[in-house]
Assembly symmetry: C2
Homo-oligomer: 701 residues x 2
Amino acid sequence: MKKLTTTIFTLLAIGALNAQTIESPSKQVKVNFELTGNGQPSYSVIYKGKEIVKPSTLGFVLKDAEALENGFTVTNYTTKSVNDAWQPVLGEYKEIKDIHNEGTFQLTQTSTNRNVNVTFRVFDEGVAFRYEFPKQQNLNYFIVKEEKTQFNLTGDHQTFWLPGDFDTQEYTYIESKISGIDHSKIDMNNGIGVKSIGKPNSVQTPLQMKTADNIYLNIFEAAVVNYPVMHLEFDKNTYQFKSHSANNAIGDMAYLQAPFNTPWRTIMVSDDARDIVGKGPQMILNLNEPSKIEDTSWIKPMKYVGIWWEMHVGKSTWDRQGTQNAQNQVGQEVIKFPHGATTENTKRYIDFAAKHGFDGVLVEGWNEGWEDWYGNWKEDVFDFTTPYADFDIKEISDYAKSKGVKMIMHHETSGSVANYERRFDRAMEVMKQYEYPAVKTGYVGRIIPRGEFHDGQTMVNHFNWTVERFAENKILVNTHESSRPSGYHRTYPNYIAAEATRGNEFNAWSYGNPPAHETILPFTRSLGGPIDYTPGIFETEMKVYNVGRDTKVHTTLAKQLALYVTLYSPLQMAADLPENYEKYADAFQFIKDVAVDWDDSKYLEAEPGDYLTVARQAKGTENWFVGAITDEKARQTEIKLDFLAPGVTYEATIYQDAKNAHWDKNPKAYDIKKLKVNSKSKLKLNLAASGGTAISIFPIK
Amino acid sequence: MKKLTTTIFTLLAIGALNAQTIESPSKQVKVNFELTGNGQPSYSVIYKGKEIVKPSTLGFVLKDAEALENGFTVTNYTTKSVNDAWQPVLGEYKEIKDIHNEGTFQLTQTSTNRNVNVTFRVFDEGVAFRYEFPKQQNLNYFIVKEEKTQFNLTGDHQTFWLPGDFDTQEYTYIESKISGIDHSKIDMNNGIGVKSIGKPNSVQTPLQMKTADNIYLNIFEAAVVNYPVMHLEFDKNTYQFKSHSANNAIGDMAYLQAPFNTPWRTIMVSDDARDIVGKGPQMILNLNEPSKIEDTSWIKPMKYVGIWWEMHVGKSTWDRQGTQNAQNQVGQEVIKFPHGATTENTKRYIDFAAKHGFDGVLVEGWNEGWEDWYGNWKEDVFDFTTPYADFDIKEISDYAKSKGVKMIMHHETSGSVANYERRFDRAMEVMKQYEYPAVKTGYVGRIIPRGEFHDGQTMVNHFNWTVERFAENKILVNTHESSRPSGYHRTYPNYIAAEATRGNEFNAWSYGNPPAHETILPFTRSLGGPIDYTPGIFETEMKVYNVGRDTKVHTTLAKQLALYVTLYSPLQMAADLPENYEKYADAFQFIKDVAVDWDDSKYLEAEPGDYLTVARQAKGTENWFVGAITDEKARQTEIKLDFLAPGVTYEATIYQDAKNAHWDKNPKAYDIKKLKVNSKSKLKLNLAASGGTAISIFPIK
């Protein structure tokens, strides 16, 4: 079902065009556009009658050409109203509505006779705008030195920020006022391999904020294609934020040819935090192009296990020589460990997956090169085609096939993208030969071509290119250490998930992810696309592995279960070791049961940095799953089950923190109880400090 | 047949090692090595008792590590004498002798406990040395910021120089004293697309020189693998030359990991210029590794014609829209031309090749992308797989096959190596599908990854990578606009030729190649490997094409014939249009007859910048071919045919300049005469200004 109501107006009274207002369908959100006295485009944003973005100018500095900043006149203005709906291949919702009003300003710089269009889309949940460079005589190839998009905010808002690092998002969020953003607050001994912070007064997007009068504001972007990722540079005193992107090695930001459209710059706004996490991702998707994959029947959600956490807890290694694991990498004396990716061990995981109904098995460390893979900016690291001698790829794929389990390929590039691209087609041949339907890619390390950053134009193009190439070959891709997504999985639904955040593994060997971490992610990283956070760690305390470290997961066991619901992804890992799941088989049942693709999602409660409660309806069923999490503060709450179908009785299985549970002191204490519920039921939830509740709700037949 | 006589001495009296002399087998060339007072390695070169390189120091500046320049002691010294011989797959000689004495100094930097070996090989024709970084505790990954190899010369020698441009060698040589080298003498309106001259006091290698007392001296290098090309920086007053290489975008010169050997730095020396051109290339080959291709049976020499000169003279275009040819590219009003690479036109060339016994047909402009391929640093230019709709690749390959003619693929990258590498495997699939056994690659344009240069480490690696990848697929490769070769065709004999010089096409649309040009190339560009100069232009005057230009080839027609012998290559093009060859069918007979692979070569006369006379024996035959060329001065000479087999009578066909021939005034005037000759014959040759003589000598049976 696809509805499209579009009305296009073209206003020809040019003189009257220089200032316009565009309202959202509900009229609660408005954009005012005008040209400043010197002909510079400027916009402001009003929410419920109150200015939330003050007049902010737009423009570009170019290389070897006059800037596209001022001297503009509006030479045309067109508007459009859209009321559309579409069905994602995989997603949080069966259908996504795209309802917005659009206005496009054709700006002509008189002195150079060059045109730039600025298009605004105003949704009830926020504003998006982009620059469009139409095909024209006087602007063909051009090089952007700097995009000068302003976001002039109205006060010293509360923020959840990461430093503007062009190579990584793997920091922990810091919560502070704008005036309190200060990179010196970051503990740089945070386990991140490659850090490249450009300016000290810079932060990443999505930037989640909250105003003094409880308006939630979020600056992000959508459809980052052939353009670098947008970070923000800011002024603590004026609360001015400006777009800020990585340059390449020779100081250029983007190489473009008209016609070209930039990514959408987005400003989400609501006085209800649930709108940000519930509607925000839909707005981002609406701003991306529809699927370019015609036949999407091969794109399936996936729950998987794999040889991965073993290496993080120091039980085995990526390399065959037995030195490379995440416990060893921090300068400890090298202990010899067994290689993880052996034929025998892989078969053990395949058996486990088959027994418990998992779709896939990921195996890291299967291929040669791991002995010397990290930290030296090495170009020819892996060939992506040669298994270690103790990994019999043919035997393993045959075995997996016989058990009905899919193998997930792993391509760690160590940042040497030049090497990966050269070997990409041959790597894909191996996948096709052994029928791997999915791949996890990794980019741990400084980028080669040297001088490029993970968030620069070259790497954005690389990530998108891998997605497109894998699509051509009907392969699902899950990128780790990539730039953070901005909705491109609408256009390429085989882009099934990405990490692009501080994942669960940091808990194994660094100071970890603080209790609030997972309550912030839905307001930031998750807005752009599915997250492969690798939840489900039951053995939260690393001391049991006797590797000399007392690190731990900063949640209770029950919260690990709830993450399967609170962090949306159609690709979810049960990340812990099989033996740990066998030890807690009753809790493991939730991971076995939980869906990863949905017909509907209800964000019941949300406060960034504090808590989140979500209910989701599994695709094509009447089964519901609820996840509730909290930060370091224990929390009691009550939820209504009014999302359930009226008149149906369900059995709810509640996986909750035990009374004395606590992420640090008693993380593995949980209770499981079963209840009969219906749409009129209310449930009291008791969450421990950094605890959670996971609930499965199945209709009784 | 392979002989190897090796004697290895290890001298253990460490104190005695700090100064050593290594002599060539004949003892005419000597290297003196010593450590300076501060422990810096230094060498000098003596030729026939006379110093020709004064004490010159060696060393490296590293990034983030102490320099490897001084504080060394000699901790070991080993010597070796080699008397070896080997057979090239294709070459100027059936067998190449490798006779030299070698000395290796193990240098230990005491303060850092790091080792660098310096190995010298002293041949009768010159000296070679390289740095070797053995595997060791204290030096694993390292980044070279600067190599500090000196060549301290003894006087103000005559030189034939090109500016130290990291992107091109397509300049004309300038002849001057060292003190007279001056980049301001270069006419920069020279038709070169991309120029990147680093330092003003820099020149390229090979640098051919002549001392006041008539000693020929040449500085070059061999086996450039995973390392940038060596240029030279110099001091006009002291005659000091220093190694000088391109850095990448972030200012680094080479990323290395021990063990690693640098390329060989070579100093050829002789009082007979013929030794440089005759023995020099053999010395370069001897310094390269033996063939890594085991089965070389598929590597065959090739004479070819092609759709190429058409676009240079403005008769047709590369693109299908009809705008892109070499006459149009200089800002003239665009005239619409027909597309060159049509099915019909290609068949015409196939017919011509089949009729006249050529092995291959090259077609440029066969694939989509040419409309917008040049000059904009565009990344995704060509896909290398999609033929224009008027080029029926299947029909053409079938037709070529039916005629016994091989098709030569063309991959123009426009410098976008990132794009080429990404698409390389798919491009190769097309070649395999249609059975193309050879490819011409092109690199016209600024390099992408941006910030890299044609002569930097990244691009050297790219060129070598293509050679290796094509070898794996049994494909011959001919690189244009690549870095100039340094003997890697010994290691990969499928690297059949390269341009890497100002080729014949510059005569079509720029101020051209001066008459001396082809007499200098054997002393410079040809030392490193076969040259695809594309000779054989019979219609030397562009005015006949009515494209508004009066450019011309700066030779006589007869000299164009002689170039097939004077410029060695197992891949030679008959570059002119079929209709021009049909017009001069008697002269064309020489191109049809001439061999391109040889059992022997005799350099009879040579003087850089003045003249060259070479006789070559065609592989596996008693047929000989002689080429003689001169610069702008007409020349009379007499050659002895004592290289012919005694007692055999031969018929010599002499293609010579007519009496009134002159490259500028009367270029197409030639005579052909036939004579009976034997090993006692002498032939008087009369060469016009920029003229030549070509002779075929076949035994009478």
